[in-house]
Symmetry: C2
Amino acid sequence: MRRVVIALGGNALLRRGEDDTAENMRRSARFAAERIVDIAAAGWEAVVTHGNGPQVGRILLQQEAARGKVAPMPLDICGAESQGQIGYLLQVSIGDVFFERGMERPVASVLTLTRVRPDDPAFRNPTKPVGPYYQKDDARRLEQEQGYAVAQSPDGGWRRVVPSPDPYSIVEAPVIRRLVSDGVVVIASGGGGVPVYEDGPRLTGLEGVVDKDLAAAILAREVEASVLLILTDVDGVYRDYGSDHAELLHELHSNEARSMLDSGAFGEGSMGPKVEAAVRFVEAGGERAVIASLEDAGAALAGDAGTTITT
Amino acid sequence: MRRVVIALGGNALLRRGEDDTAENMRRSARFAAERIVDIAAAGWEAVVTHGNGPQVGRILLQQEAARGKVAPMPLDICGAESQGQIGYLLQVSIGDVFFERGMERPVASVLTLTRVRPDDPAFRNPTKPVGPYYQKDDARRLEQEQGYAVAQSPDGGWRRVVPSPDPYSIVEAPVIRRLVSDGVVVIASGGGGVPVYEDGPRLTGLEGVVDKDLAAAILAREVEASVLLILTDVDGVYRDYGSDHAELLHELHSNEARSMLDSGAFGEGSMGPKVEAAVRFVEAGGERAVIASLEDAGAALAGDAGTTITT
């Protein structure tokens, strides 16, 4: 049985510009679920990971609105909440599609923690914006009162920024590996997992956000997947993306991908971390990584769409 | 290896009268974790379930406060969020205590759905209060605008009420059984699990709350536990509770427990569902059920505290 880790973008569940209703989230989850079941039906064991940016942002907005009535929870607890929310929507949708197609496959969501290093330089330089936009004065007040780091967004508003440390290990990987080996479709490492560091014998949660593709690359190695499939809203990795001679790369060697990363070819967008995750996975011994659009998931895994990265 | 399902009350994580801060929740989780590790150290395989009343109530308050900015989620999604939140706090705390005691045991939280019947009479008679208190006029408005059922509480305020249908099966039981057989301490069925009904091939989430002890009784049978341990804030089942001749019952036959239930001996309090769950578990073939205080968990499981119910 071949094994794949499928990484869904946060927008796979809440599309840009769409209202954030439960109905829309269920419809998006259903769309992703059909792609996932296609892959399982083609004979793959699958672990599904997902982003949580839009969802955790909404939880933070709700916390802010109820401050004074309900004590706000730190970001690690909010991340765990979002894993429950998104895991539920995905799990039910995937289960439905299996049943409709006459396939009996158990689906389970496993709450996931991701180990990071407490001396990660990211903790001295928080860069990842989370939660509501503020006026400058309000942002400065939160900085004083709550100890938040705040920064101005390119679009002018102010937001809280948190560290995005580099993951090195998934706490629940042994459990996830066991389940996927038994034929369970496992939803795990949501939002990159809750970042924790080992403090002597203890795991301590941190207020930060782990890049979900980098966490997926670690998870894919630890569950012994042969393929890491990163699904997004563009159809692969482009050379000269955004120019009039942009070219979709069907195959990309990890050395070349690394050069492109080093030369800043992906700018500040979200493609950089995806390529970084793909390169790390294949350099650590993974067979191949594929970056593709969600629509093309099945074809991409078969090598017929998206960008395939190998060593 | 003996196997136990441990049901923690919702107040095990957020004590009555205590501020709802993350710090307090972590301290309470730590206290419960020590009791759970005592049990694992005594040679038990363990599944841990928990209530979610106080936590889901706070999520509903936050949703209400942010209405207009963030679309409120239906109760099934809020329940899943609370499973993530509480599962995380328990999982980290239990893991910490294992490590401190030099024991290596994996701990995992599995998002849980609980099957209920769509024709359950509870759906025609919602009784379980959830979320914020309202003034009568606001409650009536929500009844009109949101289709909520509302009812006046004994203390005078108005609240939304939802159905509390009877559970009959735990969707993830096969996965949970597999993990607990492999030595994993599994946190599952939080808040009784998200209630779902089978609609042809689909599982559809419902706006309701499953009693967490009744769900634990089903789960305990489905994971083949010999003991159901229900932990609460009183030290067992009393005859004539609240009177000056109240008597703690160390042993209770299921027939007698059933008579006490039928005669209304437990009033409207929360002891009734616990005794009901215990009786159902032993009548369905479970070896024994024990109702005890969280403090006495280890002694109760050894038969030295609390009330032991057998057939």
